[in-house]
Amino acid sequence: MKSQDISQHSEDAPGEHADDPTTTLQSYVIGLGFAIVLTLASFGAAVTHWVWAPGLPVLLAVLAIAQMGVHLVFFLHVSSSPDSVNTVLALAFGIFVVGLVVFGSMIIMANLNDYMMPMEQLMQMQR
């Protein structure tokens, strides 16, 4: 183990940055800038009525996903470099499971709602 620690590391650990401190400080500042702009944009879009109402959920989703991406890249330092391939693979699997759970539940429940007896009838039957 000792000799391994001394030898050159061929991999980046998650959240690690091999670059010099000035560029990583820059990365945090850039990340903060992007995050502030995206947060203001999503709150602004929700509070004001500048955006066409039916398109608002899509816009908010896009802004949120963009901000999550900003956080992953600039704060958690997930990159596409070959050094962090394990990190990215685990992340991809995580996103897959999250998508499966969230969208799966939503589709199943919407379907159940469609096929279920209207609530008033159900209440009457229970009486």
């Binding site: 183990m1 391994q4 620690d5 030898s7 050159q8 590391h9 061929s10 991999e11 980046d12 650990a13 998650p14 959240g15 690690e16 401190p21 990583t24 400080l25 945090y28 990340g31 903060l32 995050a35 502030i36 947060t39 999503s42 709150f43 929700a46 509070v47 109402a53 608002l56 959920p57 908010l60 989703a61 802004l63 949120a64 901000q67 999550m68 956080h71 992953l72 704060f75 958690l76 050094d83 394990n86 990190t87 685990a90 992340l91 699997f93 995580g94 499971v97 999250v98 759970v101 969230v102 799966g104 539940s105 939503m106 429940m109």
Partner: protein, 201 residues
């Protein structure tokens, strides 16, 4: 990556250094934590309209309040990053300063959330009122508990740096804490978009 490391085949390089194994393991924990949150998000998405005659999200949520909470958490995420940069430079004083700023910002987030919850409870708005409120308190409350746990962790880390010094193990733990803290901010993006702003759509 050095040329020497490149020349040795992957199968002959031996086990990865502890630094990488620990961080990767912690990364997997964070992802599984996010999967837990995804279940709560799914529950919220399904139950958001089931208010059972009680108040709906649009009536309950004060976006100004939520905006300040978001700013607190985002700023604390940034200062947490600065804390890790100070750790890389082994600048003890700056570590303490940024850890303190992170702690105060995190604490104000929790205080704001708690005051929001207490305000709701005093008006009889509790998890038992409707399915929507169960899902709301479940999701936002779990995030709040995570942030509280993170604050305790940060306090322990500062105590460890003060007593044990900046030995590699302690530094490793502080890096893991920063990953945890950034991940919580990531979850909060989902919370304020889906729960608070989603109520406006």
């Amino acid at each position: 990556m050095s040329a020497i490391a490149e020349a040795i085949p992957l199968s002959e390089r031996g086990p990865a250094p502890t630094r990488i194994v620990v961080s990767f393991g912690f990364w997997l924990f964070l992802l599984s934590d996010i999967v837990i949150f995804s279940a709560l998000f799914a529950a919220y998405a399904v139950l958001a309209q089931r208010t059972a005659g009680g108040p709906s999200g649009a009536q309950l949520f004060d976006l100004k309040h939520v905006f300040i909470e978001t700013c607190c958490l985002l700023a604390s995420s940034f200062t947490c990053g600065l804390c890790v940069l100070a750790l890389e430079r082994r600048a003890r004083t700056m570590i303490y300063v940024w850890a303190a700023v992170t702690f105060v910002l995190g604490l104000s987030f929790i205080a704001l959330e708690l005051s929001e919850f207490i305000g709701m409870f005093s008006r009889g708005i509790n998890p038992a009122r409707s399915a929507f409120l169960s899902a709301f308190f479940g999701l936002v409350g779990t995030h709040g508990i995570h942030v509280t746990a993170g604050l305790c962790w940060l306090a322990v880390m500062v105590a460890q740096i003060a007593t044990l010094g900046l030995r590699p193990k302690v530094a490793q733990r502080l890096v893991c804490f920063s990953l945890f803290w950034h991940a919580l901010d990531l979850v909060w993006i989902g919370v304020f978009t889906i729960v608070y702003l989603g109520a406006r759509t």
